[in-house]
């Protein structure tokens, strides 16, 4: 025989460990299963009660669902009660059980006993599914008109569930719901208003319909506001606050965007806002709702002032709950009436430092929306102070918000740089890469502030003890690399107001960078930046060249591939002392607008890579999937691991190809096989904004400075135009057509090659729709001009030509030209598609 519920609870309570508890529950569950199997009816309802308890503890109880059904079908009320309770609590989404219960529900809905009906309605309202809603909607509609208020109120709430599950039933219930407004019973009124609200949410037509009832609603509201004490519905001295709140909310929905409706309700709103007692929570809940309604409908200025004053009172209240709702509402109001909210700015800012996390979060949200050009300085100061003490969970969000605000409203560049520096110093690990990039663009443009900036950066980097402060370290490394020489005595220009003089020797700069370079805790990204910065400094601090050479040398064996590669490249650069200073010259100012436009493309490295891939396709022709396949086929043979680096890296290059800096940047950052191709692509991407992106004689990118150096000593090696001649080849001869290539190069050492492809037809039939597509490996760049025609006359009586520009960025590594062709044509009425590899390029041509 099973024990009583109390005993079960007691034994569970006596358990000292979770394991013991599990044990007790498992035993009890087993006993319950046994009892259910035996059809032990005497203790059925007690057993279900136990199941509920077990369920509450968080153990599985699905086996008891059938038992609940049996109890529901029982004739006596107490058993039914337990059955329904069990059903509501234990049920999960097992539809078959729900199906079974429909019939019992239908029976109980038509029962003569009001409590049975109420029970069925409650259960139905809590658990019904769409199918059940359809089946039982007519019964519920009948009950909505019942003479019994107990049943009416429950039927109304059941209906809210029905219409939620089956929205097309809204129309059917629209009138019966409005009828409930005539009810005198508060419960029925309350549920009726709830139902109307729900319908308005589901069906915009209902809002129009219910606008006719606004006077009625106002009447009810007025009687609630002005009538004296009514013991029946008194809560904390207020007459049924729940009903008032619901009515106000319904008025809000009805009045939104409708001047006439808003006008009708403005009197009662004013009355409610002035007459409600604000000392108790119940009264405040009404005021709160009232304010929300006033603010969202088309109300008059006077009413709004009233509402904002109430909020101001809430905000000044000691009760945190009120402060919380005030902040919450102000956040909604700020879009409507920013001026009114600004008046409470100081209080709001105080709330940012509140001990309570809920209030803090609300206040912060609000502060962000309050910021404008006029108050940015003060508010940023407050936010920065808060950033220093805020919890870790707040910091990422807070940091990005501050950065956005500084970027949007920063009054001048000096202030902008100062504040960004503070943000980065305090929460450097949370500052996003694009924010750093934008800052660098800004610095390159602020010529007169560069001396100041680099001093500030030097101080910040020196004071920074946190290796995870990536953004600060990268940006300051970049600045030191670019403007490090301005730190030297007498070079940095005038001090800013209030700035302390800084005297730094060249070795101190290198010391600082070296310390960061060897910091094993720092991100690889930071160390890469530092390495490049050192390299840049080798041109600016002549006294430190040998030392920098030594440091760079240490990293030629670094385990991080990227570092190793850079170090190797840089080390090689030291062999060319004539051009090194030019290569490492200061970057020209970056175009802010262009940067902003490019930002979209550089969002992620993979995006940039994708875009670079696209730019490889022949110009003019739409990107064709077949070609991409070809490309990857070709790439399959190559061991190249392509690493595209977007973001700041791209900033290291020069975005404009006309500048003399371009080849230097290209060489300095990645001449070695793996990255160069991607880097070159990226450069191309940036240069796409200029009118002619792929002129063969363009000095940018493709030219190899080392090679140029070997050919003719001197920094400005201008190769002789003209170039060598190469024999023509027949690339393809198949299906009766012939493709022959003839070559020309602007110079013998140039990586660029122009190929003139000539197509001819030796068959007696004409060839039409001739098209040729070409693909090259990643390290090459290809541009197809359009062909002179698409049809080839028969018997070789004419040719079609097409120019192909190729440039091989790995020419000096000995990589030969390689190309794959895809040809499609209609030969004598039959379609021919062919692919082939061109591998007979003349020797010496690369």
């Amino acid at each position: 025989m099973s024990s009583r519920l109390r005993e079960l609870i007691r034994s569970v309570r006596q358990c000292k460990t979770a394991a013991q508890e599990r044990n007790v529950v498992a035993k009890e569950s087993a006993a319950l299963r046994e009892a259910f199997k035996k059809q032990d009816t005497a203790y059925q309802h007690r057993n279900v009660a136990k199941l509920m308890y077990i369920h509450m503890l968080g153990y599985p109880t699905h086996f008891g669902q059938m038992e609940c059904l049996k109890l529901i079908a029982a004739p006596s009320f107490p058993e039914k009660r337990v059955g329904y309770l069990g059903l509501m609590i234990l049920l999960d989404e097992r539809q078959e059980v729900l199906m079974l219960v429909t019939n019992s529900l239908k029976n109980d809905l038509s029962s003569k006993n009001q409590y049975n009906v109420g029970l069925a309605l409650a259960a139905f309202g809590n658990i019904c599914s769409a199918e059940m809603a359809r089946d039982l909607a007519p019964d519920v509609e009948k009950l909505l008109k019942s003479s019994n208020s107990y049943i009416r109120k429950k039927a109304a709430l059941t209906t809210t569930r029905i219409v939620k599950k089956v929205p097309e039933l809204v129309e059917q219930f629209m009138h019966p719901a409005a009828e409930l407004l005539n009810d005198r019973h508060h419960g029925a009124l309350l549920t009726g208003v709830t139902l109307m609200l729900e319908m308005c949410h589901l069906e915009p037509d209902a809002i129009k319909e219910y606008r006719n009832h606004i006077p009625q609603l106002c009447r009810i509201m007025r009687s609630l506001v002005v009538s004296g004490f009514s013991p029946e519905h008194d809560v904390g001295g207020i007459n049924d606050p729940f009903l008032q709140v619901k009515i106000l909310r319904l008025l809000r929905v009805l009045g939104k965007g409708n001047a006439e409706a808003s006008d009708q309700m403005s009197d009662i709103l004013a009355q409610a806002a002035t007459n409600t007692e604000p000392t108790k929570n119940a009264g405040n809940s009404i005021l709160y709702e009232c304010v929300q309604t006033i603010m969202s409908i088309e109300s008059t200025g006077g009413l709004r002032v009233l509402a904002v004053n109430i909020l101001g009172r809430f905000l000044g209240n000691k009760d945190n709950n009120l402060r919380y709702v005030a902040l919450n509402t102000l956040a909604k109001v700020v879009t409507v009436d920013a001026q009114a909210v600004q008046r409470h700015r100081t209080t709001i800012v105080d709330c940012v430092r509140d001990a309570d996390v809920s209030i803090r979060r609300r206040a912060l949200e609000l502060v962000y929306s309050l910021v404008n050009e006029g108050n940015i300085k003060n508010l940023t100061k407050e936010l920065l102070e808060y950033l220093a003490v805020s919890d870790a969970e707040f910091k990422p969000d807070l940091t990005s918000k501050i950065c956005t605000l500084i970027q949007r409203y920063g009054p001048d560049k000096c202030w902008h740089i100062d504040n960004m520096l503070q943000v980065m110093a305090q929460a450097g690990q949370y500052v996003k890469e694009d924010v750093c990039n934008a800052l660098i663009v800004l610095i390159t443009n602020a010529t007169d502030l560069q001396g100041y900036t680099v001093r500030a950066m030097f101080r910040a980097m020196k004071a920074n003890g946190d290796s995870s402060c990536t953004s600060l370290l990268t940006v300051s490394a970049w600045c030191l690399g670019e403007y490090g020489d301005l730190l030297l005595p007498g070079r940095g220009g005038a001090l800013q107001q209030g700035e302390e003089a800084l005297s730094v020797s060249d070795s101190e700069i290198v010391d600082l960078l070296e310390a960061n370079l060897s910091d094993s805790l720092a991100e690889v990204e930071v160390r890469e930046y530092v390495l490049t910065a050192l390299m840049k400094l080798s041109a600016k601090l002549p006294g430190q060249v040998e030392r920098i050479k030594g440091i760079v040398g240490q990293y030629t064996g670094n385990l991080v591939l990227e570092m190793q590669q850079r170090a190797c490249e840089y080390k090689k650069l030291f062999n060319y002392d004539q051009i090194r200073p030019q290569l490492l010259e200061q970057m020209p100012a970056l175009n802010e607008k262009e940067y902003a436009a490019n930002l979209g493309l550089e969002v992620t490295a993979s995006d940039a890579k994708q875009a670079a891939e696209d730019s490889n396709l022949p110009n003019g022709a739409p990107p064709q999937p077949a070609q991409v396949d070809l490309l990857s086929d070709l790439l399959g043979d190559q061991p190249a691991t392509v690493q595209a680096r977007g973001g700041l890296e791209a900033l290291l290059f020069d975005p404009s190809p006309a500048s003399t800096q371009a080849p230097a940047a290209g060489a300095a950052t990645g001449a070695a096989p793996q990255t160069s191709s991607a880097a070159v692509d990226l450069l191309d991407l940036l240069s796409d904004s200029t009118p002619s992106p792929a002129q063969p004689e363009r000095p940018a990118v493709m030219q190899d400075p080392f090679l140029a150096l070997d050919a003719s000593p001197g920094p400005s090696a201008t190769a002789a135009p003209g170039g060598a001649a190469f024999p023509s080849i027949v690339a393809v001869e198949k299906h009766g057509f012939k493709v022959s290539f003839s070559f020309s190069k602007p110079s013998a050492t140039s990586p660029a090659t122009d190929i003139v492809a000539t197509y001819s037809n030796s068959t007696p039939n004409p060839i039409t729709n001739f098209s040729l597509q070409a693909a090259v490996p990643k390290y090459m760049h290809l541009k197809l001009e359009s062909a002179s025609g698409t049809s080839l006359p028969p018997n070789g009586n004419g040719t079609v030509t097409q120019v192909i520009h190729v440039s091989n960025s790995m020419r000096d590594q000995g990589k030969p030209l390689a190309m794959r062709l895809k040809i499609s044509a209609n030969v004598g009425g039959s379609q021919v598609d062919d692919q082939c590899q061109v591998n007979n390029f003349p020797p010496g041509l690369s």
Partner: protein
């Protein structure tokens, strides 16, 4: 309803079905958040996409999860109403009353709340069916 040790004493869900395991996790998270707060802090905590309104009565916490645009103060008032009615029924309600009379408390709540909406807050209206039920139980 949760006691000070974070043990759930009564739980009711209206909106969506949650698996038993999820419920345990959810309750655990919310309770930890609320218990960590002091009396002086406000009664609202944001959790996932819900807002939790809670009120403490001696060793017992009553929590209600509501959606974003519910009137928090009204919910707070409702919690108080529930407690008043429980108090009236049990005459100085305490944690043990709720524990051992789980079913009765559920009945009372069912009379006050349905599908997440307030049905009635009038003491007599709410308690009438419960009284009736108890009379029947005594008789049998």
């Amino acid at each position: 309803m949760v006691n000070k040790q974070g043990q759930t004493r009564l739980a009711k869900y209206f909106d969506d079905f949650l698996a038993v395991e999820e419920r345990r996790v959810l309750e655990g998270e919310i309770v930890r958040k609320c218990l960590a707060r002091s009396d002086k802090q406000c009664s609202f905590v944001e959790h996932r996409n819900y807002k939790v309104v809670y009120r403490r009565y001696a060793s017992l916490f009553l929590l209600a999860g509501v959606d974003g645009d519910e009137n928090e103060l009204a919910v707070l008032e409702f919690i108080h109403c529930v407690v008043e009615i429980l108090d009236k029924h049990f005459a100085h309600v305490c944690e043990l009353d709720i524990m051992y009379n789980l079913d009765i408390v559920h009945y009372i709540l069912d009379e006050m709340l349905m599908n997440g909406c307030v049905v009635d807050i009038n003491h007599q209206n709410v308690l009438a069916p419960i009284k009736l039920l108890e009379r029947v139980a005594k008789d049998s």
